[in-house]
Symmetry: C2
């Protein structure tokens, strides 16, 4: 069993890096967007912990960081643990960090117990998992898996036009290791659930069967600025109205059941130039669609495309779509899932099997090697991406115990 208090202390210490007082909730949140100064400081803290634990640290060209605990036979593929330490702008202390700090805690626990393994064990953290800053989620792990070319990732920009490459160099995490890492024997990611399924079932542990499909698109609408008081309703080309209609339609699509278990979110809504008495000439929104079924996802995307085409034509507004990210449903490896289940059984930890609503680095690494995830329940219905995100020390320890024992098993295979 891992050291619950040590794990918790580490989680609470990292939380302070990028912490802020959140007005909306009155709570202390975390704002540690990828490759910002706060992220850089958190990276250095994690690297320091890795070095303290006697691990060999390397950084690759997309800024992913790996730390190795050598096994007896170093020619064998390693067992990899990991997740991310970047957060959204309204984040909490657990999303991503649990898998990374949990992985470091596993290393410490193995050392404390004087346990040697056949294979190397590694723990890593991947760059820009959240996708909030540069617009593509799971960026570092997608480059690792070869789905996104390094050159493409390097050129992505934030809202201020700064590139991933510039920012990697600026914070000193433009590493030398190749971004296509050696193929691991297996990958296990421990992560908070970020949803209500575990707490509803009354368990702390989830064995993750896979990740649902994710579609991110940016839609820009160009209409025409005109006077709010004098312009007759039929003469308007209101870009903001078309954008708002898309928000409402996206929700209707979810409520209708037509597209299975579709979830749609518009998290960005910008109108230019934001003037009370001027019809907005341009509006830009992002549309985040999720679906556990690829066919339903395709249907939802094409319905929305048709809806936007019809409505924007009707309003004399032009619509431009930009693909930010798209991943299909990713099923996890059944054997690793079963190993996680039997490990939980051995530890007397009740669990449920569940799909993941959120995207995770594991879905990218799954393209390289047998992969699965352990979920840890959250409080308050598992709410996440808000400072209200919270998991108990007991739940975090339960998940990390499952991780530790499953990894130990795999590392001696």
């Amino acid at each position: 069993r891992i050291d619950r208090d040590r794990l918790w202390a580490t989680l609470m210490e990292l939380k302070e890096i990028g912490a802020y007082d959140d007005e909306a909730t009155g709570l202390r949140g975390v704002r540690r967007l990828a490759l910002t100064d706060a992220d850089a400081e958190a990276r250095r803290r994690c690297v320091a912990w890795m070095v303290e634990a006697g691990l060999e640290v390397r950084v690759d060209r997309i800024g992913n960081v790996y730390a190795t605990r050598p096994g007896r036979d170093r020619s064998l593929p390693c067992v990899l643990m990991g997740s991310h330490i970047d957060t959204v702008a309204t984040g909490g202390a657990f999303d991503g960090t649990l898998g990374v700090l949990g992985g470091i805690e596993v290393m410490r626990t193995l050392d404390d117990a004087g346990i040697e393994t056949l294979r190397d064990i590694e723990v890593g953290f991947f760059t820009e998992e959240e996708g909030v800053r540069f617009g593509t989620d799971m960026l570092g792990s997608a480059v690792t898996a070869g789905r996104i070319p390094l050159e493409h990732a390097h050129k992505l920009t934030d809202n201020d036009g700064k590139t991933v490459e510039e920012e990697l160099i600026r914070i000193g995490f433009d590493g030398e290791a190749h971004e296509r890492r050696p193929i691991p024997h297996a990958y296990i990611e421990c992560h908070i659930e970020q949803g209500p399924i575990l707490s509803t079932a009354g368990v702390t542990i989830g064995i993750v069967e896979g990740v649902q499909s994710i579609s991110w698109q940016r839609l820009t609408l160009h209409g025409e600025a005109a006077h709010a008081g004098t312009t007759p309703i039929p003469a308007r080309h209101d870009a903001g109205l078309v954008a708002a209609s898309v928000v409402v339609e996206a929700r209707r699509m979810c409520d209708s059941g037509e597209f299975g278990q579709l979830r749609a979110t518009v998290g960005n809504f910008v109108v230019s130039d934001g003037q009370t008495n001027v019809i907005p000439h341009t509006a830009t929104i992002t549309i985040d669609l999720r679906n556990p079924n690829n066919t339903h996802m395709t249907a939802a995307e094409s319905h929305l495309a048709t809806y936007v085409h019809t409505l924007s034509t009707q309003h004399g507004v032009t619509a431009t779509w930009e693909r930010m990210a798209k991943t299909p449903v990713v099923p996890f490896d059944p054997a690793i899932q079963n190993l996680l289940a039997s490990t939980a059984d051995d530890l007397d930890l009740p669990y449920v099997r569940t799909m993941s609503g959120a995207g995770h680095d594991a879905q990218e690494i799954a393209a390289l090697c047998p992969t699965a995830m352990v979920f840890v329940a959250g409080e308050n219905g598992g709410i996440s991406h808000t400072p209200r995100e919270h998991s108990t020390p007991a739940a975090c320890a339960d998940g990390t115990d499952v991780l530790a024992n499953a990894v130990l098993h795999l590392a001696n295979q």
Copy 2:
């Protein structure tokens, strides 16, 4: 008749102050928000023209500027002309400026013709007519009319928290004249129509019967940030969705005819913190309603309040309303309207009578003295608040001719 070329040259010269290259239209627009550096420069240019024309210039405590051409009997109330020189962020060369530069042109024309008048004639420009920067339109004239207290106006802030008072001091237009000016004998404002009625009727001149009711409100919605992928649809408190629904409902209200000739515009739409995979916790929109009928306006406002209350309750979102501006229907003086009509007849200029869709300083000054307006037709359906705003030199001269002759008549009354 005024000097058409001289008026046009003045309009084109002022256009260059605050000019910018507009991406959306590919045209050269004007961005001269109230009390910015560009506005300050335009104010200084106008004051220079006033001084050149031999006028006595004074600035009041809300930054309104008046220039006087003395009459034979200075104890009599003056005849006032005026408008504004601030613009929206996506403005053109005519909105407001025509009435000010036209007024200066009237003074020059009277001088050229060696005409003396019984009464003083004044031309003025009022501070922050557009309301785009500090959130309340017709600000300077409303303070003049006593509808808005000076102290209240001074404390209004822009998006960066700068106050009207600070900005008046910064640009050196915190004058000493009392903001409640002496009651004029009459006020006439010449302004572009900013709508399609005149051009549809094939005339360059409109005699304005009054201004429709204007309601500006800011609506802030507080929901809860949560993960886009994991949060079940029924568990969401999506502030952006409620805001978008209001935009769509406001348009439906216009289309339905239920609220007479309602026009509704949402020109501002801000979600915090703008993240692709986070449900927005806060959304703020402005709602601009216009109605030529006070009863319909009241009904529209109360329908919208009920709609927002019901929808936000349903979504577990709290709604906060803030009143930015509200003016009832303002009818103009029938005698001044008839004088403008007979003046247009004398000049052989065909005209139509029309209500104004836009708010104007004249609706505030109407509380002080007999007031009316002359409209000048615009090209492209009279479109305004966009760089596409355009009026011909001939139309601008026609309107200023009506202004000149009507003012001359009143100044000898």
